[in-house]
Symmetry: C2
Subunit: 453 residues, 2 copies
């Protein structure tokens, strides 16, 4: 089979169409739809935190957040099958399930975030939140972190800073650098970093205003996952939101990555900063793989938008996605998954932090709950090639992970939330083994052909 | 329970929150999410072309196109449950099901439309198609019919002409009037209508160019459903596409309404004009209620877009939506649903056309396959209030339908494709009965409180 070009995270590379299925994929979806690994992994089954490939090899899934309560979760399957055998009709008719789910979901937010509009994806949620913010402020200026991604529509492409898109940044969009405070920074160093980052916010707002784009919103992921899970001081986020509000804009928290207990102690990522957003957007883990997203907002913003726009979303607000999402909350409650994420994530982070002290390549371990980042450096410089090699090395050891960050050098550990203590040990052990091999210089010989995994 | 305001198709009205569920809905989703009927219908089950409300009343569904192969179709349910119990993971891993479906789907298109990009909805599909067209043409001018709707994102709101949105039409958007040729028009009258409509296209393209927005695309629904199913001559569409191509733009066919055999003889609505689109967008009926959409395009456009943009869509291109969509094609093939839609639609249209000759209010019967429109007029004027009354009267007779068109006076008959001959007779009989009541003047007394159903 002929070799074909792939673009992954903007880096084109060649891979062999090693399997018939890959050839069929290229002939229908084309060569650009991104694939992990030098030799893409064909998966045929999954259960809990485990998936299996066509050859029967099992892999511990330490990467995927969409199967939030586990691959092939039986309660999600039953809930969906039940809705598909009963009634699944658009929201211009009354059906019980979307309303029951809306009540359950809203109970997890601050009291003023009391309304929900359902969508089919995180992209649709961010699109809608920005429409609402633009209409509320009668303006369109947007602040965005300078290495982030919020969706695949035109408006969102115009504010994409962390992924290759052909659209230039909009004139109405201004990227800001999120401060990343070193773990051992003094209070004074932290204050200085925050102060200079907030000065950048002031300048960005002034620039937008000068360009004729008064501020409409800041859109951010409270875990700053694309950025590589930087350590962001509470004082920065508070100062940022204060400035946004003062300029008349709204704070939109994109909880697609950080929500649903991912960060452990908090159901929602924004809660760790103690500042309530004006709008919250949801996606990925919400329906365990059944497409569903949402915008959570106060009654006042809904009133303003709803009275001026007929918003209708055919698939959203129907029984199938809301039943799947309800089952996710059921499993989370019954298995105490947020508390478990906190506990297992903390133990895993402490365990991995051990490496940071001894391993030549691990310079930092970051994150919260079950979203951890392991920063890799060589001689003090970011080591994306090592991170690529490590993804492949983990795969060879039966563990799925990937990488994130501005320099693509932060190993990303973000397993289904049903990840247990034994799973954490399996991951840590595979990582230890792979890093030992890396220490012998193995990685450098392969890095040249690595590409992103 | 207190009365609350509803906005439906831009017309606010008051309804009593007659049920506890409606009260709960308002307290979570707010009062603006549109609902059919004066007293909204709470549905608890569905099977084939039938749905049932909480009181056990059954209704023949002559309206809903999302349950394309019928409510609660067992093959769709089984296919989805199977995928949910096996593997349902994002497309950065290889899985068989999305590729198998892509092959099956592409086989239904002209040979040059040989690639597919999956999405979660018609809105996402149209967003993506417009991004591709804009990048291909390095411009952004768009022609749109002057009473149409293609989705709920910001870009699409800026080209919405058939529904209330707060966003004004974009400077880069120009609406055109689609010619509606009377059934009894002579060849000369038709030619004259086409000629003047094409002159409007020329002026629209010139205007966009003069404004600095060279043409990027025309985006249209080949059934012109929002417009009320006008009779559009083949020569018009050919002339329109010729002009679009000559100006450097692309023809995007939005098959969300007209696709998957809905129009009977043709799998795709664009086929009835014999002009292949450059891009085709899919949505609604594709997964029988499981969210899925797609953009079908030639390899060259995919190459151009894919090499410059990393497009990734988390939920799309996974096993669950493609299994649902595959089951839809299976049922369509096994039950010959497109041929059946042609045959039953034709008989029903002929039956209903009988009314056009005798009923004082029915001025025309239009449409193709199982997408029919019954135009209602009073003294030669469009009669939206009568159409609203008729929707309610049909509901009282156990039949679900609604209305469309610039004047909201065209009864919309668009049942699941498994609609049979007996169902068609049930619908025709309910319609005859309701129209007989209307002829006695009943409708006028109620019309004032009618609202849109």
């Amino acid at each position: 089979m002929t070799a074909v070009g792939y673009a992954s995270n903007g880096q084109p590379r060649k891979v062999e169409a090693h399997s018939q299925l890959l050839g069929r994929r290229i002939a229908t979806l084309g060569p650009y739809s991104p694939l992990f690994y030098r030799e893409p992994l064909e998966l045929v089954s999954g259960s809990g935190v485990w998936v299996s490939d066509r050859q029967g090899q099992r892999y511990l899934d330490a990467y995927n957040n969409v199967p939030h309560v586990g691959h092939s979760n039986p309660r999600v399957r039953e809930a969906v099958a039940k809705a598909l055998g009963t009634i699944n009709i658009n929201s211009r008719y009354l059906t019980e399930q979307p309303i029951a789910y809306a009540e359950r979901l809203l109970a997890t937010f601050a009291p003023q975030l009391d309304r929900v509009m359902f969508t089919n994806s995180g992209s649709e949620s961010n699109e809608l939140a920005l429409r609402i913010a633009r209409q509320h402020t009668a303006s369109d200026g947007v602040l965005i972190s300078d290495f982030s991604y919020h969706g695949n529509t035109t408006s969102l492409a115009q504010m994409t800073t962390g992924l290759q898109v052909a659209e230039p940044l909009g004139d109405h969009v201004r990227p800001i650098r999120i401060p990343d405070v070193p773990q051992d920074a003094s209070a004074q160093e932290t204050a200085s970093l925050v102060s200079s980052a907030l000065a950048e916010v002031d300048r960005a707002i002034d620039l937008l205003t000068a360009r004729g784009h008064r501020l409409s919103a800041v859109l951010l992921d409270p875990s700053f996952s694309t950025e590589g899970l930087p350590r962001v001081p509470v004082s920065y986020l508070r100062g940022l939101v204060e400035r946004v509000h003062k300029a008349g804009g709204l704070y939109i928290a994109d909880e697609v990555q950080s929500g649903f207990g991912r960060l452990g102690s908090w159901m929602w990522g924004h809660q760790r900063f103690g500042v309530d957003p004006d709008l919250v957007t949801l996606g990925k883990p919400m329906g365990n793989g059944i497409p569903i997203g949402a915008v959570v907002l106060p009654d006042g913003l809904l009133e303003e938008f709803g009275s001026r726009n007929q918003y209708f979303n055919t698939f959203a607000t129907t029984a199938v996605p809301s039943s799947a999402a309800q089952a996710v909350l059921d499993v989370m409650a019954d298995e105490q998954l947020a508390a478990r994420a906190e506990q297992i994530g903390r133990a895993l982070r402490e365990d991995l932090t051990g490496y940071a002290l001894t391993d030549p390549f691990v310079s930092d371990v970051r994150g919260q709950g079950l979203y951890l980042g392991i920063e890799l450096t060589v001689a003090g410089e970011p080591a994306p090639a090592l991170a690529g090699w490590l993804s492949e090395a983990l795969r060879e050891r039966g563990v799925l992970a990937s990488r994130i960050g501005r320099h693509d050098n932060v190993m990303k550990v973000r397993p289904p939330l049903v990840f247990g203590s034994q799973d954490a040990r399996t991951l840590a052990s595979a990582l230890e083994d792979a890093l030992a091999e890396a220490a012998q210089g193995e990685w450098a010989r392969h890095a040249a052909v690595g590409g992103r995994a």
